[in-house]
Symmetry: C2
Subunit: 264 residues, 2 copies
Amino acid sequence: MTDKKTTTAALLIIGDEILSGRTKDANLNHLAVWLGERGIQLKEARVIPDEEDIIVSAVNHCRAEFYYVFTTGGIGPTHDDITASCVAKAFGVPFGYHDEALRILTDYYGEQDLTDARKRMAMIPEGGILIDNPVSRAPGFQMDNVFVMAGIPKVMQAMLRDIEPRLEGGDKVLSRAIYVYRGESWFSALLEQVQNQFSGLSIGSYPFMNKGVFGATFVLRSQHEDVLEQALKLLQQGIEASGEEWHEGEPEKDPRWSGSPMNN
Amino acid sequence: MTDKKTTTAALLIIGDEILSGRTKDANLNHLAVWLGERGIQLKEARVIPDEEDIIVSAVNHCRAEFYYVFTTGGIGPTHDDITASCVAKAFGVPFGYHDEALRILTDYYGEQDLTDARKRMAMIPEGGILIDNPVSRAPGFQMDNVFVMAGIPKVMQAMLRDIEPRLEGGDKVLSRAIYVYRGESWFSALLEQVQNQFSGLSIGSYPFMNKGVFGATFVLRSQHEDVLEQALKLLQQGIEASGEEWHEGEPEKDPRWSGSPMNN
C-alpha cells in the first residue's frame, strides 16, 4: 500500500449566539464538505463563547494540534467582536491597523464614513495576511496556519475562494455507500470483520427509516481506492451470503423520521 | 444586586459523519435552547471523531470543567459505536451488561432476536443510571454529571424528557432584543458604553439584511431582570438621541441573505 498524505484541520466557531441557541450554525457542514473535497480532513470543531481566555487557549491548542485552523465569527465592528485581538494575543504579536485593510475600507465607505468603529475592522495581528471579502469588504486574515473568517455564511463562503490557493491538500478520503432494508445490528459482526481486514479503512453504519421501513447505510471511507473497492466487494458478498439485498448509494431521506438529516 | 446561580454545560457531538460533512448536526441548537429554558448555560460544544483517546480525554476534560456534560452519538449496535465503553474508560470503571437494560431489550426484540450485536446496547459503565428511550428502546445512561444520549435527533429529544427531572437549573439567562435599520458600527460606542455600565450584562450585535435593507439586532442578556430593563432603556435612549428609530424584538429573516439563519 503506497503511503498517503493526510492533512488535518480544526474549526473554531466563535460566538455566544450559537451557544445560546439564538443562531443556528451553518458553517460547520459547509466547511467540512469543502475541505474534504480538497483533501483536508476536518478532525475537530469547537463552538466557544466570545471570551478572550477561552478563544486564546483554543487557538493555541488547535494550531499546535492540527495542520490548519479555521475560525468563524467575531470580526465585525462592535465591542463583542474580539476574535482578531485574541488571535494576536495567541501568537504574542502586536495588534494594530493594517495599511491595505484601511485602504480597502476607505475605498468602500469613503473617508467621511470610515468611523472609528468601522476602522476597527482594519486591525489585525502583526504579520497577518489579508483574506479578501468580496461581499462586505471588511477582510479576514491568515496568521501562519490559522485562517480567520467572518461568521455570516455568505461572507465565510466567499472568503474560502481567496483561501483556496493557499491550502495544501492531502490525499482525499474517498467514500462509497451502500444500504440495506434491515436493521444495522444484523450486519454488526460482518462490518467489524471487513473493517479489521484492511488498514486505512473506516466503516460507518447509519440507521434510517424510509417510507416506513427501517434500514441502514454503510459508508466505507479510505484514502486508498483499491482498499475501498476490495472492502466494498467483501461487504456486498457478506450481505448476499446472509440472504439480504444491498443497494448502491444512499437512500432518499424520509422527512418524517427527523426534521433534518440524522445524526447517529 | 442579589447573587444568581449559574449552571454550566458542555455538549460532545461524537461522530465521524458530522466531521466528514455527510450528516448535518441537528442536536446542538435544540439542546442549547432546551437547556437555556431550564436555566442551564451551554458554554462549549465539541464535535469529535469516533476515536477512543479523543473521546476519553474530551469526556474527562468537560466533566471537570462544566456542571453537566451531554454527549450525542455512538451508542448503537455496531463496531463504530464506542461512546459507552469510552465513558467507562474515562471514569475508570468496569464496562458490562446492565440487567435492566438487558430486560428492556429482551422485551422489545424478544429472546430469539436479541442478537449479540443488539445485546451490546445493554452494556454500560458500572454505576450508570439508565436514560429511557421511548422511541427505539435502547437506553442512554447517566454517569455522575455526564448524560450519554443517542445521536438521532428524535431519540435524543425523547431522552431529554427522562433527563429533565434529574437536572438542577440555575437562574435563567433572560434576553431582550431590539433592532435598527442602520449598520451596527453606527452604535458601536453606545453598545460598549451600555455594556460596561452593568455587571452581569452582555450585549450581542448581529447584522442582518431584510427586504434589501441592512440593519442590526442588539440582544441583551442577563440573569437580572432589573439590569436588563435598565440597560434596554439606556440603549433605546441612546439610539433615539442619535436620531434613529429602534424596533422591538427581532426582524423577520430574509432567506436571500443566507441559506439559513446567520452566524456572526
